[in-house]
Symmetry: C2
Subunit: 243 residues, 2 copies
C-alpha cells in the first residue's frame, strides 16, 4: 500500500509520501512516490502516486517524455497555462496507459489501480490541489476540506480531521502531516519510511523546501515519542467512565 497526503493552506501547499511498495508481504522495497516538475519563478508541479507501481511509473514517464520529445503543438506539464490543464494532462496520461496495459492487466486478474494527488502553482494562478482517479477524471480541493489523502488513509485521518486549519503555518502543517504518518506507520506495515516531503510557499515558485525523512531523523523520532507521551498524559487527565 501507500500513504500520501496533500494540504492546501492559505500560505501554500504541503505534500508528503511514504516510499514503501510491496508485492505481497515478502517482497518489500522503496520507491519514490513524490515527483516534481518545476521552472523556477514560473511553475511548480507535484504529483503523489498510489496504486500499481508499474502503472504509476508509466504515467510519470509518459508525462516526462512528452516534455522532452514534444511536438511543438502538444501541451505539456511545462507549457500548460493552468493547473486545471495540468490535471487534464495527467488524466490523459492515465487513460493512455490504460489503453496500452489495461486489457493485459485485466487478463491477469490484476486491477488497473492508480490514484494521484496533484498540486502546484503556475504563475498567474493561486496554488491548486487535485485528486486524480484511475478513470483519468479528477476533483479539486475546496475550502471546506483542505486536505487529500490516498492509500492507507484511515489511520491518519482522525488527527487531520481534528487539527487542520487553512491558516496554519507550513511548518505547523508539516508537523501535523508527520503525526498523521506516525499513526499510520505504527498501525500498518504496508506504509514505510522514509517519507518524502515538500513544503511549497505560495508565489515562491520554488521547490527548495524539500526533504527526505529517514527512520533515524531526530525530529521525527522526537515527535513520535513526544506525541505518545502527550496523548497518554491527556488521556490520564480525563475522568474515567463509570457505569
Amino acid at each position: 500500500m501507500t500513504y500520501c497526503v496533500g494540504l492546501k493552506l492559505d500560505r501554500g501547499l504541503v505534500f508528503a509520501a511514504d516510499t514503501r511498495t510491496n508485492a505481497g508481504v515478502d517482497n518489500i522495497s522503496s520507491f519514490k512516490k513524490l515527483s516534481v516538475w518545476d521552472e523556477p519563478g514560473e511553475r511548480v508541479i507535484t504529483l503523489l502516486s498510489s496504486g500499481n507501481l508499474a502503472v504509476t511509473q508509466a504515467v510519470i514517464s509518459l508525462l516526462s517524455e512528452h516534455i522532452t520529445t514534444a511536438e511543438t503543438d502538444r501541451t505539456t506539464l511545462m507549457t500548460a497555462r493552468t493547473m486545471f490543464q495540468v490535471a487534464r494532462l495527467v488524466g490523459s496520461a492515465v487513460r493512455e496507459v490504460k489503453a496500452i496495459d489495461g486489457e493485459a492487466l485485466a487478463a491477469s486478474a490484476e486491477s488497473f489501480s492508480v490514484t494521484f494527488i496533484l498540486g502546484g502553482q503556475i504563475k498567474g494562478e493561486r496554488p491548486r490541489l487535485f485528486q486524480i482517479y484511475a478513470a483519468g477524471n479528477f476533483i479539486e480541493v475546496c475550502d471546506d476540506t483542505p486536505f487529500l489523502q490516498i492509500g492507507e488513509h484511515k489511520y491518519g485521518k482522525p488527527i487531520l480531521d481534528r487539527v487542520t486549519r487553512p491558516d496554519m503555518r507550513l511548518g505547523e502543517a508539516a508537523k501535523l502531516v508527520l503525526l498523521s504518518f506516525d499513526s499510520t506507520l505504527r498501525s500498518n506495515l504496508s506504509v514505510g519510511m522514509p517519507i518524502d516531503m515538500l513544503l511549497y510557499n505560495t508565489d515562491s515558485f520554488s521547490t527548495e523546501r524539500q526533504v527526505r525523512i529517514e527512520q533515524d531523523n531526530p525530529y521525527f523520532q522526537k515527535l513520535s515519542r513526544t506525541w505518545s507521551d502527550k496523548l497518554r498524559e491527556a488521556f490520564a487527565d480525563i475522568e474515567e467512565f463509570e457505569i
Copy 2:
C-alpha cells in the same frame, strides 16, 4: 459498516459496539450488535457482531434457539464447560447459516460476510476473548495484543495501539474505547451512535455494568470535546518542522 471493540485486561473484559446498519447510504437504521447470555454467578457470554445483518441475526437466533429447544445431549451456550467450546458453538452456528443461505447469497452476488468478537467467563476458567471468522474458525487473544476490533477498525486503532495496557482499570479502558469510537464516528458515516457497552469484572459473573450511550450522553459529549481540546494543546506544544 460497524465498529466493535473487545479488550481483555487483567481486571476483566470490556465490550463496545455501535448500532448503525446500512444498506447503501440512503437506508440507515439502528440494530443492537451486542448480545449477552448469562447465568448469574456461573457464566457470562458476550458476542459483538459485524457483517451482513441477516447472517449475524441468524447466527444469534440459532444459538438462542438451541438453548431453549435443545435435545438433552446437545451442548449449548448455557451448558458448554469452557469458552473454547462456546467459540466452537458459535463457529458451528456460522457454518450452519452458511449451509442454509450461502448458495443463495452467492447467486445474488452478495457476500457471506460476518465476523464476531466473543468474550466471557465460565466458572472454573479465566475470562477469555476470541475473534470468529466467516469460515467458523477463530483466534484467541493473547497478552501481546489485548484487544480485538471488527468492522471499521482503522480510524480507532492508533489510540488503542498507543494507550492500551493490560493493567488498566475497566473505567479507564472504557474511556479509551470511547475515544477510539469518537475518532471513528467523526471520520466515518457508516458507524453511528448509540454505543452499547459492557464492562465485565473478572469473577463477578454479572452483566450489571452494561449501558447504552446515546448521542446526548453528557460524559461522551464532554469526553469528545475535552479530547479534541487536549489534542490541539498537545499539538501546539510540539515544535514545528522546519526544512
